[in-house]
């Protein structure tokens, strides 16, 4: 199931660290909302949860980066971009091939 469109509610049942793990695994852009209200929209490609300074790294929508944001600065993460791993291109392809195979071959000279 895709997380596209998910706006996680960070609190006692869902920690920021857990949401960041999901964002790290997500193959679409996310919106990182800082505690000061500013936002970074981009592809979150790395995270380092180890002390002393846990942080994430992103390339923004224009491809600029890496931009580093410390966990301590992050208020929330929204899964705003299209999930690029949620395509159905293979399924569509296979269905088309199955239809083609099911069709009778044209008669010689037809």
């Amino acid at each position: 199931m895709s997380l596209q469109g998910w706006v996680p509610d960070i609190g006692p049942y869902l920690t920021l660290e857990e949401v960041i793990e999901h964002a790290f695994d997500y193959r679409g852009n996310v919106t990182v909302v800082r505690r000061d209200g500013t936002e970074v929209v981009g592809y979150l490609f790395n995270r380092d949860a180890q002390p002393p300074e846990p942080s994430v790294q992103l390339f923004d929508e224009a491809g600029h980066g890496p931009i580093r944001v410390r966990y301590a600065e992050i208020a929330s993460v929204r899964f705003t971009g299209k999930d690029t791993a949620e395509g159905n291109s293979w399924k569509v392809w296979m269905e088309r091939k199955e239809r083609e195979k099911a069709q009778p071959a044209p008669a010689p000279g037809a």
Binding site: R27, G42, F45, N46, Q57, A85, W90, K97
Partner: protein, 338 residues
Amino acid sequence: MSVPISQMWTVATYVLRQRLARRPRYPLVLMLEPLFRCNLACAGCGKIQYPAQILRKHLAVDKCLQAVEECGAPMVSIPGGEPLMYPDIDRLVAELVKRKKYVYLCTNAILLKEKLDLFTPSKYLSFSVHMDGLREEHDEAVCRDGVYDEAVPAIQEALARGFRVTTNTTLFDGASPLRVREFFDEMMRLGVEGMMVSPGYSYAKAPDQEHFLRRSRTNQLFREILSNPKRHWRFNQSPLFLRFLMGKQDYECTPWGNPTYNMFGWQRPCYLLQDGYAETFKELMETTPWENYGRKSGNEKCQDCMVHCGFEPTAVNHTFNSARGFAETVLVTLTGKL
């Protein structure tokens, strides 16, 4: 085996130097991904599913060369994405050849014919053409009709111009051993230098999640394909790795053997898994918790993996690190019996 003597010598002396230096972990092949953009969207590929700004980006040649120097591996494989879509591929390859690195440029060959003029034949450069089977199987694997018929003349053209050409084949569940054997015959008839074959890795992000091979099925499939190998088949990979695929060798993964560098940095822990990125090769080697990977670790992502990037380095180390491994390799090479 069809690996040229000079390349074998380079690898052998490199491994021995690492042994003499008592390095417990060292790379054999750098997997250098200058871009993720591709002109295909194959069913079993989990490498290209990124937002547009990532697909538009690519590494600068200088960054690639810096990674090559940092890593120090004698061989550089350039996968992707499709490397022939990388605008500086000719300059990158020329620089690598100048550094006497053995380069495997992995391509689907769609652009090969039109780009051949960019390159000069060299013992250091091999086009490793992605071919997943005969026409029907290959076009199905790459989800586009006609790709096999584009690749074959491109291979022929490259061979005619004196380039080294190998093939790389990924097999999935449902592969017909008989058809794969016919495919090997066909590639040999084309005149490629050697073939590389591997089971696919079950990428979580790949479009087709149904056809990844499990370990026992992998052994069965490769036994059926390789038990009675034809004398004229040539493989551009360790024969001990092929025996491993057949279930005749038991190997543990060497995830640091084929380290991966791309626009995100040095990928932890291997070419297939993405558990994060290190900024330097040294950091990758020294701070990755290697004990968390490989079958023995219990990591579920590693349990069915038998892919060449993790196990071929193990096979090569086995060859050069033990008299028995060396003897087995020589025996298999001389007799042709896997």
